[in-house]
């Protein structure tokens, strides 16, 4: 992969990307539920986490109460900028059931028999 052409895919994880440069707003909180900063996300990209899912699994951004509804787009933009690619190249992470946090005793009650 040549250095100045930019990435056309995210598959070769050893391909050269622009260097990490510390930025003034690195301590800005991006994921408010889990308090993940912009700098943490940028560093994780440079450590090799190039997909939204990997970043989310490693840093927990998007895994808090809102399940990423607020910050997913911001994180996507940060990853794309660090890699020097279009945000369109970054796939969204999977949404998972339940859509709203639900008590165990409510979920448990799906069966007709009284479980308690």
């Amino acid at each position: 992969m040549s250095k100045n052409k930019g990435l056309t895919s995210l598959n070769d994880r050893s391909a050269a990307i622009p260097p990490f440069v510390p930025a003034a707003d690195d301590d800005r909180i991006i994921c408010r539920c889990e308090e993940v900063t912009k700098g943490e996300i940028r560093k994780a990209v440079h450590a090799g986490l190039w997909t939204l899912t990997e970043i989310r699994r490693y840093l927990r951004c998007g895994m808090g109460l809102c399940q990423g509804q607020t910050c997913a787009k911001l994180v996507k933009g940060i990853i794309a900028r660090e890699l020097g690619v279009s945000p369109a190249l970054i796939e969204p992470a999977t949404s998972r059931s339940p859509m709203r946090p639900t008590e165990m005793e409510v979920i448990a009650n799906e069966s007709e028999v009284d479980f308690k």
Partner: protein, 375 residues
Amino acid sequence: MKNTADVIVVGAGIIGNAIAYYTAKKGHSVIVLEKSEIVGNGGSSRNGGGVRQSGRDARELPLAMYGIENLWPGLSDTLGYDVEYVKKGNLRLGKTPEHLKILEGLAATGQRCGLDMRMIDGKEVREINPYMSDEVIGASWCPTDGHANPLKATLAFYMKARELGVQFLTSATVTNLKKKAGKLKIVETDKGTFEGDTVILACGMGARPIAEKVGIDIPMKSVLIEALITEQEPEMFPQMLGTAEADFYGHQTAHGSFLFGGSSGMEDVNADNGTPVTHSITAPCICRGIIKYLPRLAQAKIVRTWAGWMDHMVDGVPVIDRIDEVPGLILACGFSGHGFGIAPAVGMTVSELVEGTKTTVDISGLTYDRFKAKA
């Protein structure tokens, strides 16, 4: 990127990533080929995080015990990323005399292999974990068991291996293997052809169709199993939990959420549409199990549920071996739902198989030629 290396690893789950790390650390060049766009998107990021010896088969116990004694305690420092390893014991719980009988059998196996594991009564269970319901009448207790964060551990091996120069190619599906001058050498993918002196299949169920190309059949099948996680809760207890009948297992994570896996009993016959999706009956069943043992969690809120395949070997333990008929081929697959806890020890052991030295850990029960038809 290059397309030749000393070692080609197929699969970037925790097994492939750990193999890549330990092999690269010994100075070999390594390429890892991964079908998914995402590193570690298989079972490795979907498991319960149990790092245990209790309940494990005697053939697999040496790997589990070696890893817990020698590798897990320093792993965060070794890799440079916190894998949230906690070594505070495992309670395997029982509510009936039948349960206790199962647990006694497991404890006896452990003790035979030199593991510190014993039966305790309900009172002692509640001394160790005061949140346990009065229905619990006993448990097996293994104080050296524990848990770690599967997401972080899987990615930590990846990031460290990458730092050591291992080349990872994602969205690359291995489709065929070919020999050159009698030795396995060529790995074909939908992203081009690669060559290595050693080829390691660390790709779970994916290993079966690939090994078939060189005449090796691995007797395993895929089974979809499920897990769930609660929102953050105040700190309650550090142990790993399980039950005699394995209806659920889990722990409280460093973050505070509770991570539990479990089963409905229908896993073997559940429909499988090719994507790991959850079944509506499973999470309720897991929740009922948890509430009976841990009534305090009844109001804990579930935030996510998910499913993942396990690569179930016919006799419940993996194959970790060099294949005599196909020089250059190593198999490390079929972890049968318990490959996370032994992953560091497997990575180290396979790096020894690559070099052809005697392995530190006894893996003589995990050979590929152990499968025999009924007499």
